[in-house]
Amino acid sequence: MSSDLTLWQLASAYLFIVILLIIVRIKGIPREKEILISSVRMTIQLMIVGYLLAYIFTHAHPVYTLIILVFMLLFAIYNVYQRAKIPLNRELKKKIAISMALGVLATLVYFLMVTLSVSPWYNPRYVIPVSGMIIGNTMTGISLGVNTLLNGMNANKQMVETALMLGATPREATRPIINQAFDSAMLPTINSMVGMGIVFLPGMMTGQIIGGASPLMAIRYQIAVMLGIVGGASLTVLLFVQISYMAFFNNRCQLKENELNVKSTH
């Protein structure tokens, strides 16, 4: 097998899907449309990304790299807003954006500059895929953290109030909820580390190996990226829970009414 995949070979992969579609249709499972649309959509998206990356790789420029980074970050933040099961008010949205931006940037600067020593610093071949992985996993983590925090504040209002009545600071009163939010945000990342290499081979490593890299070099990168993901996700979630619990209190350390469950009216 050569390391280049020809278009004919790729066509055979589509043939496989066409056969699958025929089977699905015969069996009367009404899903052929979804499979078809998502396959076409995936193809188009990846083609655009492929050409875009090819262009950016050959015309490496700090501005291009930065634009892509900002776009990925904004898209991830938008996605977190969309995934929130409870509508977020403006203050919480702002805090999500701040913690995502700070957490991701700090992690990226460290891992790209120190760990991977990317040179020049904007080298898109490294910066874009590594950032994508770190931002994507951070997004998943913070989504879970936001939902757990909101649900926890809703479900434990009485507990928080009892604590305040006894003279607890808002931080102390919400400590168990904050800890739970952090745990749930970190769970997928921790689970994926536990299963890594045994239950599945991560996509990046697989890609490098198919591309001809030695498995030993591929795992080095994978370990570095995995640590970057853990670091990025935990830093972001930590920032988020630390700054966001105050969104539920006013400056008199009182639980804000109407803050939970409903969109802010101001």
């Binding site: 434990n156 006894l166 003279g167 607890a168 600071t169």
Partner: protein
């Protein structure tokens, strides 16, 4: 009254729940707030604990406007017990210790906690899981938690609503002694006529958010 009041309220308004022209709650006294359900009694207690703020008007604590006091510091001196106090994960001991942690104070030995449980007439081991406690038992753990903090002012919201008459009487006797011996101010919301007639030294009656009666108990 020679002593200045612990709380004085002037022209207080809060939504359409409370509207109090003038009200004083004396220090070192047992004050009972009575009135029908939904008349604003609990809201008034929360105001004194500064868990909610009035829309307009003034509340003074020992002569200082409540807005000039740090709310957390105030709540450590004016501690409130809700009608159904939340139990935190863990044992009865954890639920008592957590109050000290909230107040930023060091733990005390088990013997002190046992004494507290005896005072609230709760015959439970400190290792009992708080989830297994009944409503009345939770109420007493909640009360023990407040007594452990030993604040100058205690705000109790129907502390005996889940207790039988005899236990209520025993606990009220303990509370009365505690308040008098230690010069504490106790403000409690209650529905129990027996508690009011036996223990109240000052009575405030609220109807639809208005104070309709404020009186000192006539000694019989």
């Amino acid at each position: 009254m020679s002593q200045p009041p612990m709380f004085s309220i002037h022209q207080l308004k809060y939504k359409n729940i409370l509207s109090i022209d003038q009200l004083s709650i004396p220090a070192d006294t047992i004050t009972c707030i009575i009135g029908e359900s939904g008349s604003g009694k609990t809201t008034l207690l929360k105001m004194l604990n500064h868990l909610i703020s009035p829309d307009s008007g003034e509340i003074k604590v020992n002569g200082t406007s409540i807005f000039d006091l740090n709310p957390v510091d105030l709540r450590r001196k004016v501690v409130m017990l809700p009608q159904t106090p939340a139990m935190f994960k863990g044992t009865v001991r954890d639920n008592l210790f957590i109050a000290l942690r909230f107040a930023g104070r060091p733990n005390v030995p088990d013997s002190e906690l046992d004494k507290l449980l005896a005072r609230v007439h709760l015959n439970k081991d400190l290792d009992t899981d708080s989830e297994s406690l009944s409503g009345g038992e939770r109420q007493r753990v909640g009360l023990a938690r407040v007594l452990l903090l030993d604040p100058p002012v205690l705000l109790l919201d129907e502390p005996s609503s889940a207790l039988d008459e005899e236990t209520t009487h025993l606990i009220m006797e303990e509370l009365t002694d505690y308040v008098h011996e230690n010069k504490k101010t106790l403000v409690m919301v209650t529905h129990s006529k027996a508690v009011v007639s036996d223990y109240a030294e000052h009575i405030i009656e609220i109807r639809s958010g208005h104070v309709v009666r404020e009186s000192e108990r006539v000694e019989q």
